[in-house]
Symmetry: C2
Subunit: 404 residues, 2 copies
């Protein structure tokens, strides 16, 4: 029997999905699980767009151009205009989810061993895509005591080496829910320019900015046209994760040329998802407003419940639909598994994502979990009942450690 | 401005799509182009499956499991039963087109610098995926004088090094249309076993076997359960290229575990494509029979026309819908571009894929082109009129060179 690859044997395993077998077992035993572990919203996808896609006559379900249909890319420029971002359709590449866009961006900007600096806790799959592309994620730790605010430029500069090619941010942040301010972004931008780096920003949660904060995109940064690459997606915005439609946006012509060339290898992004997306862009603002209102309600509820739990450290996230929370536990992996295997409250339990999986630095995040507030208020309340009861009975309950 | 990656600058460019700008210009000037350059059939996708997918209620367009929906994977086992291949749903991973499956297979079986031996001319994107995964395609040349038949085991063995991890085949072959016999496959299988290699077989053209030849799949090889990895897709079978649904099939549990882990990084394959595919599997055999009949008609027409052209070397392909043809020309890239830019017959021309792009060995294929017979008989006839006239007026017409 031939051996699998070493990189396969050593490959990073998704912290978000690795508890699935235990969850499956719990379900089989009849336990109800509240899934706060993944960013799969329960929000309905805009009905009209689905209907229009489903009424579109399709005779031959053909490949699209590798870069995506021109009509779609033009349509997306309309969406960006609402954010005062003027784009040409040629500055947009349609990818199979933002996921594929991350991979193509890494391939286009970095060679094997090149480094991308990313604040941690970070979206765990960045590490997986860096493994695909054989480049290196250099983490820069942010802390719960200031709500995982942007590290300082000095912090970043200490991490820069001759192999550094890019700084990558997620704004608003998955898994922290932190929304970076215009001021913080401008400081990073100046540093990026000084060191001649790429600035890769994952903006898939752009719509989810709370407390009347205005969204400031990396695409708003003047003079950084050749440095900025923005990753985007319809998955969260329109609750259309299964469409697998993302995009890479850059005004750097050379980067776009290479992205396009890499995209040709896989032929084309999914056709139905592209048809749907053209209609999704026309979704009335009311839909987005209502969704945002719903998430604010959930966030407030979550914050209120967590704040009342003894020895639980939390903050009010400014965006996205995640909160990263510190708990008085010995080990988050053990705790999350225990929740599925041992704990139940009225035959119900809650599934959380262990915090350690969101750090590239070994050993960090052991007392932390990511909570995705993707369920309605009633479910979320029940899930918090579970968490509260669980913390009171968990045998591995310990003192809280100082973040730094 | 930061530099793009070296691998980006040196990246392989798809020979199939690189003439597109010249084709666009020709179209803008009002010229009609017969596209024999890409494997995009004009055959209709099964109407019933499209309708059923479009009638499926979708409230929340959610992620699917990374490996694909279990119901779909079970359905696909039914399809394989028709070929007397008994599979468990766990032995199937749904990929975003066979394309993604090739990439995951390379990642799972090979490390950087590891080698996969592939007969050439080969499906050009294999080279692109090897670049994604930083492994090496080692070509083994096959020749037009025997219809690009399987190289001998001795030929393969001469290419084996300590870095060789796999032999890869495309059967029936893109771009050659060559159908490998059971006997040829059994010989390769014995050699693969002897050298403890993976045998990766791209079988996306499985339905397209002509002249009453029975299809023999690598999945039929007894004792090679841990060596064989089959790539499959609904793109060609059901003319559903835009669904972006492929699959990787292997009975090697360790390989499947690693494939699944790599697949989790990109979350999930497209949901609509998966729903469609569940219905596609129920397409009546009559559809496939009629499609095959249509391709046989086209193949025969193509062969007949080419055979009558002076100094054109061709053969009757046994499968798929491609023919690799030798022409009395100086340089296929120049000729294919000239067809678009300079030539026209009644304001029409034909687009072909230059043969050189299908060889990993530098310098081969200069007098060859790939012809995809994906157009109906009338269009194909007109395209052949164009080719015949073009060969008579092309300024770079030269003597035919011996293949070997």
């Amino acid at each position: 029997m031939p051996d699998i690859s070493k990189r396969g044997a050593e490959a990073y395993s998704s912290p978000i999905r690795k508890l699935t077998p235990f969850a499956d077992k719990a379900k089989q035993s009849g336990k109800k699980i509240f899934h706060l572990n993944i960013g799969q919203p329960d929000i309905k996808t805009p009905k009209e767009a689905i209907q229009k896609m489903q009424s579109t006559p399709v005779d031959v379900l053909a490949y699209s151009p590798s870069k995506g249909y021109l009509s779609l890319r033009k349509k997306i420029t309309e969406y960006y205009q609402r954010y005062n971002v003027a784009l040409d359709a040629e500055e947009i590449l349609i990818s199979t989810g933002a996921s594929e866009g991350i991979f193509f961006t890494f391939l286009s900007c970095m060679d094997e061993g090149d480094e991308v600096i990313i604040p941690e806790p970070l979206y765990a799959n960045y590490i997986g895509f860096a493994e695909y592309a054989r480049c290196k994620v250099v983490p820069i730790t942010s802390y719960i005591d200031n709500g995982f605010a942007m590290p300082t430029c000095e912090d970043f500069e200490r991490k820069i080496t001759p192999r550094t090619k890019a700084i990558m941010l997620c704004n608003p942040g998955n898994p922290t829910g932190c929304l970076y301010s215009e001021e913080a972004l401008r400081e990073i931008a100046a540093m990026v320019q000084k060191h001649n780096l790429f600035l890769i920003v994952d903006e898939v949660y752009r719509e989810f900015c709370y407390d009347n904060q205005q969204y400031f995109s990396a695409l708003h940064l003047e003079g950084l046209e050749n440095n900025v690459i923005v990753l985007d997606s319809v998955s969260k915005r329109y609750s259309a994760c299964g469409a697998r439609i993302g995009m890479v946006v850059t005004r750097n012509k050379e980067v776009m040329r290479i992205l396009t060339q890499f995209s040709e290898v896989r032929l084309s992004p999914p056709t139905f998802g592209q048809i749907l997306t053209e209609y999704l862009v026309d979704t009335p603002q009311q839909y987005l407003d209502e969704v945002k209102e719903e998430y604010v309600k959930r966030r407030n509820l979550l914050f209120e419940r967590l704040s009342k739990m003894e020895d639980v450290v939390c903050y009010r996230p400014g965006g996205a639909f995640y909160s990263f929370v510190q708990l008085p536990i010995d080990d988050c992996d053990r705790f999350c598994r225990w929740l599925l295997e041992e704990f139940s409250l009225d035959n119900k339990t809650v599934m959380l994502a262990p915090g350690s999986g969101f750090y590239a630095t070994e050993g960090l995040g052991k007392q932390e979990v990511r909570i995705a507030y993707v369920l309605n208020a009633d479910d979320l309340n029940q899930a918090m009942d579970c968490l509260e009861a669980a913390l009171n009975t968990y045998p591995g309950r310990t003192e809280l450690k100082k973040a730094r």
